[in-house]
Subunit: 404 residues, 2 copies
């Protein structure tokens, strides 16, 4: 694709108006929205209101002027992005903490079922947290197996199937309907990690009868660095699952200050500590922006951007490890390369920000709201120049950062 | 005390310069810093930098430009406020989540000790979380007893004594050295909740040989609504305790993306999910401000403010439930009154913000950095007027808010 062809596509893009809703620094092509979404223009004013008026002027009174409802209110908005009921989602803690709470709860549901099944190579925190959660339920076992053995591993002992909908590295996407049905056929619940899905690919939790889900707020939801995460519990499980991290905000009457814990009705019981209001304000702004967009347009443009980048990769002889079929993947594309880390650093030095995933994957997030075809073509030109000149072999690009 | 006498005291106050470091709304006397500390003037600019430059301009690169170290860096600063080593404190999650992690870990340390002892009437989330944590360790038991039976309840089965240093309602303060020694004499560890202590009263964790501690960031540390909390683990326990919420940020090599969990060395293993950067930026600003202050001056002024308010209460015939001896209490003062809720609302309607604690306590936080003696005298005049005119009996003041 030439730059002119790309510009023509961008001019006809029905989402082009959304680009100006984000702060995008000069000289940067940001292909890392799947790791940290960029700053929406509405966020700084919303945070200024949170800080200067709600905290500074109204002080403690703000708890009765919108703060206490924020986790459920924002959860209800996220529910609309993931096909859930508004009373099935709440914002709380981190993805890791939410995984812990739901896994422990699911492992306690049926004394005859004490196994959690997941995928080797799943995002690490999912497996790490599952290890920790298993340690909190006597007799519980984690079976992490390769993708092609997941189905055969489900059995009479399975309490829970834990899957990440879109793989963080390859972008492979599980068929949510099929795997939910398979888990149910085995008598197990399913817990979906939607961290690389929410706001990026169509998700229909209730249409697929999914039981439980979690996801993060700082990727495609553009909620800000370390934004609070969300948690979903299908209505049918809400009164049957108990939060092991039984903090006061999940209590039925937190301000009655009772010695004994009585869980709140509904999804509120999954709260633990005091809601993180600064993070919630950032998240709400990001979610509000996404609610303005037709998800069909997001999916179509993601597919078009993917095809452009895949074609560039093919032309440069890169090995694409992401599925070509849009129905089988998320909204990022990954290539394997023996010098992936150095390539990533050489790209960043020229303003093309993607990321590296150990040991040899170069990953680019394709976020339709603010990326254009011209961005992709220009990034491809820079990548070609780096590959051909072999500047990535400069030792400075191999120095490892703490965060890669 | 007359207004003139109060003004003279304020003019001689060595802390008077700190008042201008906070945003204090016109017409408000804020006696609720022990529930939500007010906004430091430095916070809005620090958050603007976090949002517009660090997130907006630097994007994902900021993780290598100070973000990843923030939990340990800010923890190290809090350590200086509570008498701990800088490598013994980290900022993570909420107080509730941190309690959960440490209680579960402590209950697993010695198979012969499975009891956690705490106080009835402790802050609810401490007892609620202890209930949940006990459910995660086979054979574990929570014994919550009245304060006068705590000592006798410690025994050969006690794994952990969980105490809140300063009582959220009465302000009673445990003798940290004596109770730590008592727990150790029984062979148990001690876990201090410092939520109403840090930044308010002298705390010397290492001087008293305390094992574990947690505390919140949004009260006297002025970190903002729902600020991240902190967690302390004495060096001697750091390699022996395991975090049950074993998320990726507590992994020894989070960016190696290994399937198996290997805890990080030191206090870093208590992290779970991705650090909440907006909240951390607010907290760091609040903590930096406190580090400028001589804690001896804070203690002295807190005692003087307490005496003024206690004298006002005595003159109005209110029943003070807080200890008169400054060594036996924190930095708030509480009165019992049959119409405490309505009184609190009537005060708020006139700009005097304290808070109500079920069922009959009216509580005032006395924060020396920005409160003056004149504030206290004026608040006393308003309280006298409300009590004498009995305007608090107006039914509008009895309507219960969600958050009290």
């Amino acid at each position: 694709m030439t730059r002119d062809e790309a510009r023509a596509l961008d001019a006809a893009d029905p989402l082009r108006g959304f680009r100006d809703r984000f702060v995008l620094p000069e000289g940067v092509i940001y292909l890392d929205g799947n790791s940290l979404g960029p700053l929406p223009r509405a966020t700084a004013p919303a945070l200024a209101d949170m800080i200067e008026r709600q905290w500074g002027e109204r002080l403690i009174r703000s708890w009765n002027e919108g703060w206490i409802e924020a986790p459920a209110r924002i959860g209800g908005k996220i529910a609309r992005l993931i096909g859930a009921g508004e009373e099935e989602v709440i914002v709380a803690d981190s993805t890791s903490a939410n995984l812990f709470k739901l896994i422990v709860a699911a492992l306690r549901l049926d004394p005859a079922r004490k196994t959690i099944v997941s995928e080797l190579g799943n995002f690490p925190t999912d497996l790490h947290i599952a290890e920790g959660a298993v340690g909190c339920v006597p007799g519980a076992v984690l079976k992490a197996v390769p993708r092609d053995r997941i189905g055969a591993t489900l059995g009479e002992d399975t309490a829970l199937l834990l899957l990440t909908h879109v793989h963080y590295k390859t972008a492979e996407r599980f068929d949510m309907a099929a795997w939910t049905e398979r888990a149910h056929a085995a008598g197990a619940l399913i817990l979906w990690d939607l961290s690389h899905s929410a706001g990026a690919v169509p998700v229909d939790l209730n249409g697929t009868q999914a039981d439980l889900a979690v996801g993060c707020g700082y990727k495609y939801l553009n909620g800000g660095p370390g934004a609070p995460a969300f948690l979903h519990v299908h209505t049918k499980w809400q009164e049957r699952l108990a939060n092991p991290v039984s903090g006061w905000m999940g209590h039925s009457a937190p301000f009655a200050f009772e010695d004994g814990y009585r869980p709140a009705a509904g999804v509120t019981r999954w709260l633990a500590g005091t809601p993180a209001m600064l993070g919630l304000a950032g998240l709400e702004t990001g979610v509000d922006l996404l609610l303005e967009v037709d998800p069909v347009l997001i999916a179509a443009k993601s597919a078009a951007l993917f095809d452009s980048v895949a074609a560039i990769g093919d032309a440069l002889g890169l090995v694409c490890v992401s599925p070509r079929d849009p129905a089988l993947r998320g909204s990022h594309i990954s290539f394997r390369h023996p010098h992936a880390y150095a390539l990533c650093q050489a790209l960043i030095a020229q303003g093309v920000i993607g990321d590296f995933r150990d040991p040899d994957v170069l990953r680019f997030g394709l976020t339709p709201l603010y990326l254009g075809h011209e961005d992709v073509v220009r990034a491809g030109e820079i990548l070609r120049e780096i590959l051909e000149s072999r500047t990535y072999l400069n030792p400075e690009f191999s120095k490892r950062n703490a965060v890669t």
